[in-house]
């Protein structure tokens, strides 16, 4: 039963799976009180899947922790109630709470590697749940553990029981965690970013599993994620959290097709939609940043960033008004008539005003569909970026092998590619396919075993330490982790000054630093601060400024926006596009997010098991005919579009080890279009679909095009793992 169909004032038939009422949670850190949740109310009916979305720092995980009574020692519940299946969580005794977790409520955490004990065999860990909760003996519990592993479709449960967590892949580990969470049939399953650290293909498998399990178990689901696509796939209802407040909630389909709060709308516009490219349109961003915890807010929590803000928004915070309905307009009239003294109002308005299936905390819900767009900044065409001048970079036959004990892991195997001035080369592939190693070989952080980097006609030395200052200046890198990319002991200005001193081409250092920080839109006041005082987006902007200190020709970007929230990610991507248009710089852009790569790249290379298996223009690679692996990768992206019916191609098994790659075609062990022995025994030829678009497969382009454009029903869909 979903809340949408729940009749108003229905008699309390069955208690909700989760009923959060006016919840206020405050953290106490270094002598300060930081309110994290400010009067959150939400209700998840039994068997319902509810998605909670919002940027990091909005309070999503805190809400889950409060529901599990797992709040950190410095967090307190100041007001409100959490009821799980009708039971007030705060009234449970310490002993009861341990039993209650697992039987009533269970959680799946973001990182499966840390959720499992590394020192215990999988069997013992899963069996422990049954022994503790159902008092079984060891043999019975092991038998039940085997059953529950089978339920999450783990291949060969018997051998898995005997393994240690490190012997399983990330996806398999997450399956075990899910099996443990579901072991004793809890009424509420909390999933906190369950697929965030996983590859797109594995993510898709986990989602399939959760979807399939929902048909068989009757647990309600609370899905916490920043990925709107996940919510759209799994959930019936959505709540959008901003700065500790629910700003919009309602049925998923309604909210995703017709958002009625400016924040929801902003979030959805930030994500590059599938197939979008930088030359089509700039990404929308949300200006400003999430208010810091403890920062005093006047009026609507979103007013400081809202493009539709009006005086009344700052004057008094809106309630959660029913949409569609008249309560928003009434609330607005009341707020406008009220005296302009914020202190005169109660600090929170948690309860939904009016009945109705959906609510938005905005006076102007009716106008959200017409929310102004930022002026689009389009990227210039490749020619305008100087691509006609020819190749700037050429990588010839590059290989790199690492030693791991007696094993030899080939991370990059005979990769060749070239790059033109002002061009962006996107590199995609699952983790462990060798993308980052290739990038580090290009910059000289790792010396390749064989192969050359030719830059503007001159062959470069293998390692950065041996390259000239000029060569270093020309090829720079932007790293993935905003928290470790800047030296925490240096001020931001010192970091940029040093980079300009070492790489700059003369002139006033101070003027160059100021120009760089202006180019990346970091206000001068932040230059005095240390990286720990900056937000993730600001740190990444400084890191980009540092890479541009010597006016580089090529910047290698290794997942530069992956660790950031979508709104920040969009602004970083826009910044990179803008800098490219201005400076005619080339990028090698690595990302596991295919929509992002599609958006920013002119050409794309797909890596699988250390080899570049497909190269072509962004458009060609993303459309048939393309390599079966690319086809499978593309089919695994969760979409926000409700009308699109895509058939997902599940890859069989897990990625083979780099130390022992399969014979013939490297992809044949997982390929859904395998032809037979030829794929197993013969290395595939390089096929040319159109000029400049090549892939390695035994299937010729015409045939591949026919197969891939055929009706989805004909597509062989293999289920789960072999």
């Amino acid at each position: 039963m979903s809340a949408v169909e729940r009749p108003a004032n229905a008699p309390e038939a069955a208690p909700a799976a989760l009923d959060v009422r006016d919840l206020e949670v405050t953290f106490h850190r270094r002598g300060r009180d930081l309110p994290v949740l400010k009067g959150v109310t939400l209700r998840i009916e039994q068997g319902e899947a509810y998605g909670l979305v919002g940027e990091s720092g909005c309070g999503k995980t805190t809400l889950a922790m409060a529901a599990l009574r797992y709040l950190a020692a410095n967090g307190t519940v100041d007001a409100g109630q959490v009821l799980v299946g009708g039971q007030d969580v705060s009234k449970l005794s310490e002993d009861a709470v341990r039993k209650w977790r697992g039987e009533q409520i269970a959680m799946v955490y973001q990182d499966p590697a840390t959720a499992l004990s590394p020192a215990m065999r999988i069997g013992d860990q899963v069996a422990e749940v049954f022994r503790y909760h159902e008092g079984m003996n060891k043999a019975e519990a092991l038998e039940r553990a085997r059953e529950s592993l089978r339920r999450v479709a783990l291949p060969d449960p018997d051998s898995t029981l005997r393994r240690y967590p490190f012997e399983l892949s990330g996806g398999q580990q997450q399956r075990v965690v899910i099996a443990m969470a579901l072991a004793v049939n809890p009424h509420l399953l909390v999933l906190d970013e369950p697929t965030t650290g996983l590859d797109a293909t594995v993510e898709a498998e986990i989602l399939d599993l959760i979807e399939e399990l929902r048909g068989r178990i009757n647990a309600a689901i609370l899905l916490i994620t920043h990925n709107l696509g996940l919510v759209r796939r799994l959930c019936e209802r959505v709540g959008v959290l901003y700065a500790g407040r629910v700003v919009e909630e309602g049925p998923a389909r309604d909210i995703f097709t017709d958002p009625r709060h400016p924040y929801t709308m902003g979030l959805m516009r930030c994500v590059p939609r599938f197939g979008m490219n930088k030359t089509d349109a700039a990404l929308q961003t949300i200006p400003g940043t999430l208010p810091a915890l403890g920062e005093p807010l006047e009026g609507c929590v979103y007013s400081a960033r809202c493009p539709m803000v009006k005086p009344v928004c700052v004057r008094r915070e809106p309630d959660l008004f029913a949409w569609p309905g008249s309560s928003g307009a009434e609330g607005r009239a009341a707020a406008e008539a009220a005296p302009a003294d914020p202190a005169a109002y109660s600090p929170h308005h948690a309860n939904p005003v009016g009945e109705g299936p959906r609510h938005a905390r905005c006076y102007f819900s009716a106008e959200v569909a017409d929310m102004p767009h930022a002026t689009p900044v389009l990227a210039s065409s490749l020619e305008e970026r100087g691509a006609d001048a020819g190749d700037v970079l050429e990588i010839g036959n590059m290989s790199r092998t690492f030693k791991d004990g007696r094993k030899r892991l080939t991370a990059v195997n005979e990769v060749s590619l070239s790059l033109r001035r002002g061009e962006t080369f996107g590199l995609v592939g699952e983790s462990g396919s060798g993308k980052t190693t290739l990038a580090k070989c290009v910059t000289g952080l790792i010396a390749p075993d064989t192969g050359t980097v030719t830059f503007e006609g001159k062959q470069l030395k293998a390692t950065a330490g041996r390259r000239s200052q000029d060569a270093l200046r020309a090829i720079q890198m932007v790293f993935q982790n905003p928290d470790s990319t800047l030296n925490p002991a240096w001020s931001t200005r010192a970091i940029l000054t040093r980079a300009v001193r070492k790489l700059g081409s003369g002139g006033s250092v101070r003027a160059k630093v100021d120009k760089l920080s202006a180019d990346v839109r970091v206000e001068p006041r932040f230059l005095m601060q240390r990286p720990t005082d900056l937000s993730g987006g600001q740190k990444q902007r400084i890191a980009i400024a540092r890479a541009f200190a010597g006016d580089p020709t090529l910047v290698v970007c290794d997942e530069p926006a992956s660790a950031l929230d979508v709104s920040v990610q969009a602004s970083i991507l826009n910044l990179l596009v803008e800098l490219q248009t201005k400076e005619q710089v080339s990028y090698v852009f690595i990302s596991h997010d295919l929509a992002v790569v599609r958006y920013i790249s002119d050409r794309i290379g797909v890596m699988y098991l250390a080899e570049l298996i497909e190269v072509g223009s962004a458009e060609e690679v993303f459309n048939p005919p393309h390599h079966p692996y690319t086809e499978a990768l593309l089919s695994s992206i969760p979409t926000l579009n409700f009308d699109e019916k895509r058939t997902r191609i599940a890859l069989r098994g897990t990625m083979p080890s780099l130390s022992d790659p399969p014979t013939g075609c490297r992809f044949h062990t997982r390929c859904h279009r395998i032809l037979g022995d030829i794929c197993v025994n013969q290395e595939p030829p390089v096929q040319e679909a159109v000029s400049g678009h090549t892939y390695q497969c035994h299937i010729p382009p015409d045939e591949l095009l026919r197969l891939q454009t055929a009706a989805p029903a004909e597509q062989p869909v293999t289920s789960s793992e072999a």
Partner: protein, 327 residues
């Protein structure tokens, strides 16, 4: 984008004119207010950033001040530092011989009693802190300096350099500290400088291991890679990039070594490798007076307790620092 069923508002390519917040005069005013507020805020931003840093530092200091472990240790150690410097003004003379009052039990005149030469044990105990408090900190600083450099080099270069250095360190670690010191001091003769250098050298291997471990944790971080891509020399990366980020483990290691150095210094002087009589040094006193242990236990008891209290005090500081840093 076309045909996708999501209503995300007007297409930006077709329409950029939408509803603008500045259409409303009252909103304009509000925004102007906000802008001027932002400007003032920016003017004060540097000050604010500095305030925030000061606040963080103050927090650390306050956390230390609130830690009973750290404070107890600090009171004990500061007491002995004070006594080492000013005991002459507080107590009787530690070297004033009074044959008539030899081996007197504690009394009002001599709170800790007197030794075989009638010297005041209280005065000698208080003054005895001096040598230990010269040797131990200086030896520790030497060990941190040498160990820091070795650890930085081994951890930063890794590979062959690291292997060679660490195997040498392993050999040095296998040497028993006291026996080796005795050997060195017998060869080179005693004296404050040589004792300090010997203890410093013998503590170097342990320090270098700690520093190496910390360096290995930092060197793979991306800011170090960025420095390499900038063409920085290795010495610069070690001293300016990595070192400032590993000061906390180095400080904690330093206080641990300090405790051991106090102990080692006292042991050496007990064995006769420190200052000679009539110095009131604790180790020396315990060695000299131990023959009177049966008849006049106070002559040994008080210097021994003093020594123990100083070691305990230093260790309490270590504990307190470690706990506050790890928070």
């Amino acid at each position: 984008m076309a045909g996708d069923g999501t209503n995300l508002g007007p297409n930006p390519d077709l329409q950029t004119e939408g509803w603008r917040p500045d259409a409303d005069p009252e909103m304009l005013e509000l925004q102007a207010d906000a802008a001027s507020a932002r400007q003032t805020e920016e003017l004060h931003a540097d000050a604010a950033a500095e305030r925030e840093q000061r606040r963080q530092r103050r927090y650390l200091v306050r956390a230390l001040l609130r830690s009973p472990t750290f404070m107890t240790g600090m009171v004990i150690v500061l007491f002995w530092v004070f006594m080492a410097l000013f005991s002459a003004y507080v107590t009787q003379s530690p070297t004033n011989v009074d044959a008539a009052a030899s081996l007197k039990a504690p009394s009002v005149a001599h709170l800790f009693g007197t030794d075989e030469l009638g010297r005041d044990v209280l005065a000698r105990t208080m003054a005895g802190a001096r040598t230990v408090l010269i040797i131990a900190p200086l030896a520790t600083i030497l060990a941190l300096l040498w160990g820091g450099i070795i650890g930085l080099v081994a951890g930063f270069y890794r590979g062959y350099t690291d292997e060679v250095i660490m195997r040498l360190i392993d050999v040095l670690l296998a040497l028993p500290i006291v026996i080796t010191s005795i050997l060195v001091l017998s060869l080179l003769g005693t004296g404050l400088t040589i004792i300090i250098i010997t203890i410093g050298a013998l503590f170097t291997p342990v320090v270098s291991r700690t520093v190496r471990a910390a360096v290995i944790g930092e060197r793979e971080r991306e800011y170090v890679m960025a420095a390499r891509l900038r063409g920085e020399r290795s010495a610069f990366v070690m001293a300016r990039e990595i070192l400032p980020n590993i000061t906390q483990p180095i400080i904690v290691e330093g206080t641990i070594r300090l405790g051991y150095a106090v102990f080692t210094a006292a042991t050496l002087s007990f064995l006769g490798f420190g200052l000679g009589p009539p110095s009131p040094d604790w180790g020396l006193t315990i060695a000299n007076e131990r023959i009177y242990l049966q008849v006049a236990p106070w002559t040994v008891l008080f210097p021994a307790l003093a020594l123990a209290s100083l070691v305990v005090g230093v260790n309490l500081i270590t504990d307190g620092l470690g706990r506050v840093f790890s928070k």
